[in-house]
């Protein structure tokens, strides 16, 4: 089970946005893509999600070509994008509902573990920003696809909530057999969460470097303060400059 991106290029008109991107996402791997705003990270997701067709290159999932095909990824957008007329529980099962088999019991369990047990029948407008993102993540997790694309999911949260959410995300994800492709512009976040970090340059987006993150799992908040973490951070910042 792996996603292989080969020599992907995409342009809008005569402006090249993505240039010759190649990388792989292995089973159960957490890969972050970092780069400055406007570096074409979201465009990359749209190509992987099948909304855009690349001019060159292929996307292969478990040996099958899926270039330009939709529905192979589960997705968590930057805004929680919960459906306001659906309750928390109904929102959590939406992703799986689209593929035909919603599992309400599992959704209830996951929501309870995320401290949303007494909010099952609440509507999204009653939730805080962090709660909404938890529901959005559970919705993505419950979708049957084996690969999850997360597009800067925590960028709109305050830094305290963000740290909480990152830890919660890791704890929850570690119990599931899913691969994650994670877009962010936060270096610490990428280091804390990922197995591999892909550093993009801008105009057009090319891969500057792929960093293998050496920290073992499970990871705790102590990691943020370790000497090793800071050194890796420094290394990546230098790379981005």
């Amino acid at each position: 089970m792996s996603l292989v991106i080969e020599e992907l290029s995409k342009s809008f008109g005569d402006r090249l946005i993505l240039s010759n991107l190649s990388f792989t996402l292995k089973r159960g791997e957490f890969v972050s893509i970092i780069g400055p705003s406007g570096s074409g990270k979201s465009t990359l997701f749209h190509v992987i999600g099948g909304l855009l067709v690349p001019e060159e290159g292929h996307i292969t999932l478990n040996g099958t070509k899926i270039t330009g095909e939709r529905g192979h990824m589960s997705y968590m957008p930057q805004q929680p994008s919960l459906f306001p007329w659906r309750t928390v529980l109904q929102n959590a099962t939406l992703g799986s509902e689209l593929s035909g088999a919603p599992n309400e019991e599992l959704a209830k369990q996951l929501l309870q573990k995320a401290n949303l047990g007494d909010m099952l029948k609440a509507y999204p407008h009653q939730l805080s920003g962090g709660m909404k993102q938890r529901v959005a993540f559970i919705r993505a997790l419950l979708s049957p696809q084996s690969i999850m694309c997360l597009d800067e999911p925590f960028s709109a949260l305050d830094s305290f909530t963000k740290k909480d959410m990152q830890r919660w995300l890791l704890e929850t994800w570690e119990q599931y057999d899913k691969s994650i492709l994670f877009i962010t512009h936060d270096i610490e976040e990428a280091l804390f969460l990922s197995d591999k970090i892909i550093i993009l340059s801008t105009n057009p987006a090319t891969i500057k470097e792929i960093v293998e993150v050496p920290f073992s799992r499970p990871r705790s908040n102590q990691l943020y303060l370790s000497e090793e973490f800071l050194q890796w951070k420094k290394k990546i910042v230098e790379n981005l400059l």
């Binding site: 997701f45 749209h46 999600g49 099948g50 909304l51 939709r70 529905g71 192979h72 990824m73 589960s74 997705y75 957008p77 805004q79 994008s81 459906f83 306001p84 007329w85 659906r86 939406l94 992703g95 509902e97 689209l98 509507y123 999204p124 407008h125 009653q126 979708s143 694309c149």
Partner: protein, 252 residues
């Protein structure tokens, strides 16, 4: 509704009735020209038993016509939304059709479809149809882009996008169309009855007017107003029921 909000308009209405009553008495206006509110009230109580079948007949007509209007409005909007080419072709025609005065159509319908309920139901449905169709179409067009993006990234089919996103998203818009249509559908029903019916508020109205029983005409007017308000209230209540999730305002 709170008392603090309602007392001003209530007082204004009371003052208006009081002035009306005073003027008719002071200027000694004949009841067949302009009856005093007290006289209308008395007439109402007196005539009510014989008036009730007329009211029931009109309510039935309006309910049937309006139901068809809602169904036709939502169905048409759905078709126009799903097939943009059809929309481009039909839309100007629909707008033009709304400029044909109903009062002209009504006698024509009587000629084509006879004196039964059908032409009147058709007229009520036709007047209700347009605002509902336009509001629904508007609602479909304003689907939240973030939610749409999520659905597309997840590989949702067109059918799923319509039933799980666009249709529920359009419900508040559909209801605003229904409420607009509801305010004048009772009136349309009454006017349609003028042009030929066995029974109904409109019939009662024309009969009373032609025999100079002006107080009765006013009774019919008052009942029409009350029915319109009740009709509006019914859909207001239904809207609240169907958009409970929207009560404290959608995030935005």
């Amino acid at each position: 509704m709170k008392f603090s909000k309602i007392w001003r308009p209530a007082l204004a209405l009371l003052l208006f009735l009081f002035l009306w009553e005073g003027l008719t008495r002071f200027l000694e206006i004949e009841p067949w020209v302009l009856p005093a509110p007290s006289l209308i009230m008395k007439e109402m109580i007196e005539v009510f038993p014989s008036f009730t079948p007329h009211i029931i007949s009109t309510v039935k007509l309006v309910l049937i016509g309006f139901t068809f209007g809602i169904l036709a409005g939502i169905t048409t909007a759905t078709i126009l939304h799903v097939f943009p080419k059809v929309r481009e072709t039909i839309m100007p025609f629909l707008v033009i059709s709304q400029n044909v005065p109903i009062i002209v159509l009504a006698p024509l319908f009587m000629i084509w479809f006879g004196m039964g309920d059908f032409p009147k139901v058709l007229i009520i449905a036709m007047t209700a149809f347009f605002p509902i169709a336009i509001a629904t179409l508007d609602g479909f067009g304003q689907t939240d882009r973030e939610l749409m993006h999520y659905m597309k990234m997840m590989g949702a089919t067109r059918k799923q996008i319509f039933f799980k996103l666009q249709l529920p998203h359009a419900i508040p818009s559909i209801f605003s169309g229904i409420k607009i249509a509801a305010t004048y559908s009772v009136m349309t029903g009454v006017v349609a009855e003028w042009l030929g019916a066995q029974q109904g508020i409109g019939v009662f109205m024309t009969l009373s007017a032609s025999s100079y029983r002006t107080p009765r005409v006013f009774v019919a007017i008052v009942v029409t107003i009350i029915l319109s308000l009740a009709f509006f209230g019914l859909f207001l209540a239904l809207e609240k029921l169907f958009t409970r999730w929207n009560r404290e305002g959608v995030e935005k």
